[in-house]
């Protein structure tokens, strides 16, 4: 009965296709990519994705894919929780909901009742909405910075569907549009055939090995992420490093000093676009929803303070993170290119 020792079906053993989505090229590419998957037609993606009685962490063991046609809104204004990196017109889009990875500090498990991944097949509609926003942006003399990897890790998905490269190609043709592609992936190879674009910021989240191992499940190890960063810089891409979230636990200081030393010895700071630093933070509602599910992770049993509806570590610890990062990044990159969330 069981094909391997793992009793769980492989990810995407089932693909749920919303009525009308099958007519899009991206849907066909996806179905071709997984020819053995069971295809189930659904009337509306929400009838599958928003069901009651789902368990996010159990579903993570065998994620399914949902192909759907996104309805408006197609573009969202950045929130206080995301770092805008100094860009005044900061927006994000959601080409995919949910992520291949399973970082235990991630807000997605509080945001969605399902761990299944929704791929919106009408990326063109999102691009039309971006064009409209470009025309009507609040600060017309500043470019529009668009995060395309906010509710997912798009680059990690690149070997499955080429959505990142499609957005990069689009950004190259749209005046005043800049992209941020935040990732933990080591799949930079999937973009190497593209001409580096000054309008695209590739942002890698780096964490000590202990955090990768204990908190960032299914993600590539630190050294592979650093290799990807090195390749991207070498090819001429704009690169941001994100130490976000810096996890605070007994002995965190040494682990992060070692991480920063490793980064400083392998990456040329003057070639980086900037660095962002943040700590664990999650909207209170999302935090409570995750906590109620009794997660295995210890992250949800620590003491946090409620800072204007956002659960985060106490002020004194936030300052400790800032001090340590600032001190250890001194001389590596100029201070004005380090952005702290606080």
């Amino acid at each position: 009965m069981t094909k391997s020792n793992n009793p769980f079906l492989p990810n995407f053993s089932h693909i749920y296709v919303e009525s009308g989505a099958e007519n899009y090229l991206l849907a066909q590419q996806c179905l071709d990519r997984f020819p053995k998957s069971t295809v189930i037609k659904i009337p509306d993606y929400k009838s599958m994705f928003n069901r009651s009685g789902q368990d996010f962490q159990t579903q993570k063991k065998s994620m399914k894919m949902i192909l759907a046609v996104k309805k408006p809104p197609f573009i969202y204004k950045g929130t206080d929780i995301i770092q805008d990196g100094g860009f005044k017109n900061f927006f994000y889009i959601t080409p995919i909901l949910n992520c291949l990875y399973n970082c235990d500090y991630c807000f997605l498990q509080g945001m969605y009742s399902s761990a299944n991944m929704v791929v919106f097949v009408n990326q063109n509609d999102m691009q039309s909405a971006v064009e409209l926003e470009l025309d009507n942006r609040t600060y017309p003399s500043n470019p529009l910075m668009l995060s395309i990897s906010y509710n997912t890790d798009l680059m990690a998905f690149e070997n499955i569907l080429p959505i990142t490269r499609s957005w990069i190609n689009y950004a190259n043709t749209a005046q005043d549009l800049h992209l941020e592609v935040r990732t933990k992936s080591a799949l930079f190879d999937s973009l190497t055939h593209l001409k580096p674009s000054k309008k695209v910021l590739l942002a890698w989240t780096l964490s000590p090995d202990k955090v990768v191992r204990e908190n960032e499940f299914n993600t590539p190890p630190l050294d592979r992420r650093i290799t990807a960063v090195q390749s991207a810089i070498e090819k001429g891409w704009k690169v941001r490093l994100c130490f976000d979230p810096v996890m605070v636990y007994a002995g965190w200081e040494n682990d992060y000093i070692n991480l920063l030393n490793q980064v400083k010895s392998s990456i040329n700071g003057s070639k980086l676009f900037d660095i962002t630093v943040g700590v664990f933070r999650m909207g209170k509602d999302y935090f409570e929803r995750v906590h109620k599910s009794k997660p295995e992770s210890l992250v949800y049993y620590q003491y946090y303070e409620n800072k204007n509806g956002v659960m985060t570590i106490p002020q004194v610890e936030r300052e400790g993170v800032k001090d340590l990062l600032r001190k250890n990044l001194d001389g590596f990159i100029s201070n004005n290119r380090i952005h702290f969330w606080n």
């Binding site: 009965m1 053993s13 069901r51 789902q54 368990d55 065998s62 049993y301």
Partner: protein, 214 residues
Amino acid sequence: MDLDWENTILINLGIAGGNANRTAIGSLYRVNKIIDEKTGRSYFPDILIHNGLNEIQLTTVKNGVSKNGNRYSGLVDMEASAIFETMSKYVPTHRLLFLKVVSDYMDVTDWKFLDVESLILKKLDVIQLIVKSHINIDLSDRYILTPGEIKFLNQGSIKLQFTETQSLQLISRAEKFKKLGKEINKLECFFTMTPRSKQERNRIFDQIKQSLST
């Protein structure tokens, strides 16, 4: 309903009419989509575990179908949507299994000639394997406190005449305390007390909170 839903796998095992072109009488199917014909609603049990069965969609109808059965693309029964709708309030969608043996092609004129028992008996071995594959700790609800620890805390709450909110807070704080590697039996000394007023009860509750936060 007062049952141990945390460890329950709910299986709806039964017979169903099948589309003559797509199903075979006597075959066992796992249902991956249920459509309620009356409301038009669709229901989806999560299918996370290898099972080796053919999957199919099923339509739940209000009245039995005895002709033109091929207008339904998969199976037809008279209960699955109601079972899903009711039971998904108690059991998560990954522990709801709908297993159906095709008994007819919706052309039955006299139901008493259907040998349901025999149809099911022939598939019992497979059904047992499927049940076995779902007895898996990874499919159970997660819990932090053992039933014994919850009983200990509830008895303490009764003894100290805690309000319902205080009792719930006690459980929540005890979970956090245990998760951080500490023993909740340190609360035993509080549970021997008997408050003589609400003020005293609240004072003890504050002391317990203090004790669980250190």
